[in-house]
Symmetry: C2
Subunit: 116 residues, 2 copies
DNA sequence: CCGCTATATCGATAAATGTCAATCTAAGGG
DNA sequence: CCCTTAGATTGACATTTATCGATATAGCGG
């Protein structure tokens, strides 16, 4: 499942009704929750933090496994979730995989909350 | 690759760990995740949205059960999670319970993301 | 080619989570 | 008092999730 990430508000919920209720549609709520769920795990928050603070704004898996005190498969799993959520991007250089923040992604995620 | 830094597990949150900054401490990450986890469910997002858009910025449970198409116990459960996370506050007037946003709570939650 | 190293993927499992039905509590109204 | 209504709590159950160990894949150095 979850092949496509539908980002659309399907049921004609107009965006600009002054005084009316924006009342998040079910589809929009699900999409927002999908992003925020990726951010709702302490280890993933630390991963993002380390990547952001890393040299050149990136970090490879080997640099991420140790500070989190997690197994390498688990870290890879969390990174995949963050990539799937559109928060991180992966670039493979040689044997190593470097992860970096998708520009503006954190701000967009935060806007999902303030824009409720 | 990684410069072997001594690994301090758990809760010592210091601002200046030698050999590299710890970015987000384990404790801080857990606290942030606790808040964000409350925001990671589509039905809870819709609850917040409806409450925020409600008349006077509040809504009672009876107004929340129907649009979500959920049972009343389930809605109460979600509301409790939002209250426990410091996002909603509850005020009982007569037989009804009115929920409203805690001022600034959504902005603070969003700052947990942008401030990573 | 062969092994080594870095990462990803798979399978299993224990814990957490969302939901509902049933029950409990509290506040009014006859 | 009893009954009704709004909401919370409890218990059960199915699904999801976080984690690990084992294994697969993919570059690199001999």
């Amino acid at each position: 499942m979850t092949t496509a990430l539908t980002l659309k508000t399907d049921t004609a919920q107009l965006c600009c009704e002054p005084g009316g209720q924006p009342a998040l549609s079910s589809a929009a709520a699900q999409e927002s929750a999908r992003i925020l769920k990726a951010l709702s795990d302490p280890n993933r928050l630390r991963l993002l933090s380390i990547v952001k603070a890393g040299d050149g704004g990136e970090a490879c898996v080997c640099d991420l496994t140790e500070p989190l005190d997690l197994g390498q498969p688990t870290v890879s799993h969390h990174l995949k979730i963050l990539v799937d959520a559109g928060l991180l991007e992966r670039e493979k250089r040689g044997t190593w995989a470097y992860y970096s923040l998708v520009p503006g992604a954190l701000e967009r995620a935060a806007a999902l909350i303030t824009g409720l």
